[in-house]
Symmetry: C2
Subunit: 399 residues, 2 copies
């Protein structure tokens, strides 16, 4: 998402009564019984699955008030409050930053931590504290790189459900997420219909578009063709930053919309009245923005993780997995009360795709509500349209 920590609308500092305050990541090693390692959907096996997570609020005595927040492609477990002591190789970048959804989570906020026990876990394969390609392979004593097994949305749902079990939660009140996080929420409702009370799927659907597959492929191509990539085995040397930057710049375009880019940047030149006629330098504000975004991104994200995350999104197709290609049959599995929200200018997960899912759920008789929020912010809208999302979630969680 283009709305990074430094841009997201942060409503309250850590001392404010509506903030969850300073937060601290935790880790838990899941599937750590040597007799029962985790076999992933790809066939890969992990003997122990280090999972980073944060929690806010308190689990009630009936363990009935747990809300799972599912993060997007480049997100992390730090969803709310201010990170006092982050975990993982990129911790320096992340210290004392607000959570990526701080606008939504806190005492008295839409996802009210006075009422709910909120959990957000970093997905397997990421670079933010959970096990991933940058973790040390205990068998070799070196980072996994691309020997880390391929992960899927199904794996993430299974791991997050295992984490919840270990935290004493059998049934979650709600799973809420946008984009990739919305895919995880949907998969949870499909894989664990008895254990998921409700889901909120924002800017996401049962699959990515063909265009989405294509953009992901080009992003990976840019990373893999970086001379520093070295088949993913670059942890001892310079990482493939230029390739990752190209991937991010392109992805950034897909998170915005022509309308929002036109409004924000148009054809304005960067700090000059007339062009310099340069091929290699910056002429337009639009270019400057993309460069700046990429520069900041490559400092805080690992190129290998980018490969794993985008592939997982590629692979996810709920109807293929659960209904032999039949989306209505798939939807019939869902028992969770569901809210799907699309945004009018989102072309990465376009409203039509969300409506495919919603229509199937209606045909299957599922309790689903759907809203297409008018917005010019493209895919980013689920993070930018704070007020609309806040209201929708507030109402949904009150029902």
């Amino acid at each position: 998402m283009s709305v990074d920590g430094d841009e997201v609308k942060v409503l309250h500092g850590p001392e404010h009564p509506l903030s969850v305050g300073w937060t601290k990541s935790q880790t838990m090693t899941l599937f750590d019984d040597p007799q029962n390692p985790l076999t992933l959907e790809s066939g890969g096996v992990l003997a122990a699955v280090e999972t980073e997570f944060e929690t806010y609020g308190r689990l009630n005595d009936q363990a009935s008030n747990a809300i799972l927040i599912c993060h997007a492609l480049t997100g992390d477990a730090h969803a709310a409050g201010w990170d006092l002591d982050p975990i993982g190789p990129l911790r320096e970048f992340r210290r004392k930053k607000p959570g990526w959804w701080d606008s939504m989570i806190g005492p008295g906020k839409a996802i009210d931590t006075n009422r709910f026990f909120v959990i957000c876990a970093n997905v397997l394969g990421s670079c933010y504290g959970s096990a991933g390609p940058g973790s040390i392979n205990p068998e070799t004593g070196r980072p996994y790189g691309l020997t880390f097994p391929v992960v899927t949305v199904g794996d993430w749902a299974r791991i997050q459900m295992e984490l919840l079990t270990r935290l004493g939660v059998h049934k979650i009140y709600s799973a809420i997420g946008g984009s990739m996080g919305g895919q995880i929420g949907l998969e949870l409702a499909l894989a664990y219909p008895e254990r998921v009370g409700s889901i909120v799927v924002l800017s996401a659907g049962h699959r990515v578009t063909t265009q989405g597959l294509a953009f992901n492929a080009v992003g990976r191509h840019a990373i893999m063709n970086d001379p520093n990539f070295n088949s993913g085995d670059y942890y001892g040397g310079p990482p493939p930053l230029a390739g990752l930057a190209a991937a991010r710049m392109m992805a950034q375009i897909t998170y915005l919309s022509e309308e929002s880019m036109g409004y924000k940047f148009g054809r304005r030149l960067r700090g000059k009245e007339s062009p310099d006629f340069t091929l290699t330098g910056i002429e337009f504000e639009m270019e400057s923005y993309l460069s700046h975004q990429a520069e900041s991104f490559v400092k805080r994200y690992d190129a290998n993780s980018y490969l794993y995350m985008t592939r997982a999104m590629d692979y996810y197709e709920a109807a293929e997995k659960w209904g032999q290609g039949d989306l209505t049959k798939t939807a019939a599995r869902i028992k969770a009360r569901t809210m799907v929200v699309s945004f009018s200018s989102d072309w990465l997960f376009p409203p039509e795709l969300c409506r495919e899912l919603v229509s199937a759920m209606c045909r299957a008789g599922c309790p689903v509500s759907y809203l297409n929020v008018p917005s010019r912010y493209g895919h980013d809208a689920f993070l930018v349209e704070t007020e609309a999302v806040r209201r929708l979630i507030t109402i949904f969680l009150k029902e």
Copy 2:
């Protein structure tokens, strides 16, 4: 465009009566008076401008039947017939190939060479025979690389008009082009209102969108970050193929539409029933297509030229240049009878952008007709929707 020589619908072999037959490129050195070199809009100066072109049909005695065809980003002068003896460093790739618009140009075709004298010239900065960054700089004896001056759409219009003058044409009957070629046609009508009888602007407009600026920037970024780029001075060594491939793959997505990609590729796997769970290999048909397209493209295009072409498209803004930002005032310059054609699924030059231009022309009282052709082929539609374009051009040229 994604419709390369080997994909375009070729109606007739070189011996067919509807074909212009075997063609031969010509070159002309323009602005070759040492006292009067060409000063480009960027301020760069060229003492002689080698321009490659092809012609089909014969100029009539009144010199009133000339049609100028303007090629798109990666196009060339070989618009019709079969190339017997191409010119330029990439000639081997191009030998005995059909022209990129052979479906439209020929005796008895929409652009009828029994009636019209048809000229198509390769633009300055390209790699297909006209002077460009790969040409030898006479002052150094080495290829220009990025010391070649930055070129603009305005420069191209001026050069092509000079070529026409030298060919004995004062006023052209029509200038016809799609995408970047449509920008050139529009610019000709604005810069030489007395010398342009009519224009056909396909899938193009008075500027690129902000999204277009952004995609072009990312493409250049990918090229410039290729380790072989060497600031554009790579002609003695390996060229920056990986960067150019990434740029092309991304651009390819913008030439298609979600609908056409979904229809053609969807989520189909490439030659297998189930995924291999590979990060670095090909899983989907969509990926395979992009890789294949990029592979074929990098053999036949020069990365430096890609920088020059995309920059020229970026810079073009007709209203800024001709009307102090006022598009209606700009349009009032145009005396050419005009047809603008957009395609419903084109998101690179979307119908709304074309309508901006057409509305301004209507307000200015210009003789303009406009059609938005329903098509699922995205930006490529101007090359793919042969039948619709053929009919529109036939009618327009008969008027």
